[in-house]
Symmetry: C2
Subunit: 361 residues, 2 copies
């Protein structure tokens, strides 16, 4: 956040700020007929396409912490979270409507940074920003993003289509974003502790501390997974190229456990997930060791991975095994067999949704 | 808000609460293909239709005050604000995606009340709730509503189409919602004052005060305009029935001045608005007198009317004059003539956007 060289938002006003942030936007999609500047955005999709709509509301202090999240990264991540929901339906995101509520703490430059991240994400995924509204908030920042996408009528993939014997697949690796969060939270605690210990002490120390950069070397990947997640457009494209239509799909935002339970309950099936097949990155394992955490627990319940979890018919086994960055981690069973984790030692446990649930905190 | 007989939201959890609020929803529109329960809602619109999308983010303490806004009314109004944006494009709203962020102050019963209002608005306007998300907030309530609607491809009306000699029309009457707000704010101030005067005093007085109902008799219309606004579906239907296609349109959320200036700047024209033709309700005039306010100023800058402001070719003069609840208040001029208010005494003033702008507060 900008502490000096601030341009107060009141100097532009609500409409001035929106114009300032959006007047260089250019649409790339034919389905975008009219963008920012009227009561609604106007879209037109070709016949045969179904339209996908999702919205996320992100609140400061709950979904993000600005003490360690740069505004540009926040803009990028806010977009990705929504794009990921459209990919999870086997669709392609096309438009974004962005509403922001901000307190007086924020200045024009903060919003420029936020939009820079937002635009970067949108241009990488071929998405148009078609609505941008700003208003004020008494405390903190609230971000509401609506994403609109398209899919061929017969290609939309729901959570409820998994069938017995289907293979359960996951993209990328799990638990790294959660480890990145632990790392950032640890550094924040250390920083606050040092500040407290120097209370009433040397003002120069405080000055130095505020410029101190914690040493994250060797852990860059974990930070990147937390601060700059990538929605898996590539996986949706690979599935199409391989002519694989998943029977069910969801993105992993609340942890593998929580998401596979959504698929199983909505599909009225059970599952067997094999611990040894859950994909982990080396840095995730090292960091779990360092923090004395069970790495499988982190992968199951960590959340914010934004990887895709999907099921395919067993007849697609060969095709799916050859896909880059996709692992088969288990299979679908009858509902009566329950949702089970098979551990490395052969023990079986019932999967529980301990996922990240801000309302239970 | 429910103070007693509260069911804490944590007893249901995030997913439980969403299910509880949305599991009785039934879709009425053919364009709604899949509603709440997956990563996205799935819609399908017929060829020849354009799709309208709008989002509003409403923040507690900025857009609404829960000391005098019942949750049911808040749900109703939150929907109306968005429906109004779709009508302002000459479209028909079809779907709503609702995201809520709530602090621990709120209980399940509060959310039930909110949804009751939301559903009432939706059923009156033939709209499906297709997405409902809840998350938590550190302070207060944030409401994000996205509305999706449709319009025939050649019937979408923008802000930028007004032409010289077009007639300027407005539905209903203006300034009443603002007067309702003044009334509620005045009663709140009186109540707080009485509480302060009794500080450390009689606990029974406090008890009585909390049940005291202020006397709003004769002013019900003003309160209704503030707490239960109605988006003007009927006007859009009348325009279609009369075969009138406005050249430009906008809904009045920030005050007549601000909105006509949007039309004029985007259409690159000027305007002449006649004070004597601005529609006012009797109660608005009485209340303005009581508060020593200029009623025209209130009508010009009050905001939250959710009436429609539109322009029609002068050839539609006869048709538009016969419309129920529509008044011609002026006409469009060349840009160089400016945007002018012609007062009852013949004086002319340039219109200024002093409208309700929360970022300038």
């Amino acid at each position: 956040m900008h502490e000096t060289n601030r341009t107060e938002i009141s100097t532009l006003g609500e409409f001035g700020l929106i114009r300032h942030l959006t007047d260089t936007l250019q649409s790339v999609n034919a389905s975008t007929r009219y963008s920012v500047g009227d009561d609604c955005a106007v879209l037109e999709y070709p016949a045969g396409k179904q339209i996908l709509v999702t919205n996320d509301l992100l609140m400061e202090g709950i979904h993000f912490d600005l003490t360690y999240t740069p505004m540009k990264h926040l803009g990028y991540k806010s977009a990705m979270v929504n794009l990921s929901d459209v990919y999870a339906m086997n669709g392609m995101p096309k438009q974004l409507v962005v509403s922001l509520a901000l307190s007086k703490r924020f200045c024009v430059e903060d919003m420029e940074d936020f939009y820079e991240g937002l635009k970067l994400a949108c241009s990488a995924h071929g998405v148009d920003i078609v609505g941008g509204d700003t208003t004020s908030s008494l405390t903190g920042l609230a971000i509401s993003i609506t994403c609109i996408g398209e899919a061929d009528k017969d290609k939309v993939v729901y959570r409820h289509g998994a069938k017995e014997t289907d293979l359960i697949c996951v993209s990328g690796n799990l638990g790294a974003a959660y480890m990145g969060l632990q790392l950032l939270e640890r550094e924040k605690a250390v920083f606050n502790q040092q500040l407290r210990e120097n209370k009433g002490g040397n003002p120069r120390f405080e000055e130095e501390l505020s410029h101190a950069q914690p040493d994250f070397s060797g852990k860059e990947y974990l930070l990147e997974r937390q601060l700059k997640p990538e929605a898996r457009r590539d996986i949706i494209q690979s599935l199409a190229a391989e002519n694989i239509l998943p029977t069910s799909m969801i993105d992993i935002s609340d942890g593998l456990s929580s998401e596979i339970l959504h698929i199983c309950s909505q599909s009225k099936v059970g599952c067997r997930i094999y611990e040894e097949h859950i994909p982990l990155d080396y840095q995730t394992a090292v960091m779990a060791e360092e923090l004395n955490l069970n790495v499988t627990t982190c992968a199951l319940n960590g959340g914010e991975d934004y990887e895709l979890l999907f099921t395919v018919p067993i007849t697609d086994h060969e095709k799916v095994s050859q896909m880059t960055d996709v692992k088969i981690i288990g299979h679908i069973t009858q509902s009566s067999a329950g949702c089970m984790l098979i551990c490395r030692d052969g023990n079986e446990f019932e999967l529980k949704a301990q996922g990240w649930n801000p309302l239970k905190k």
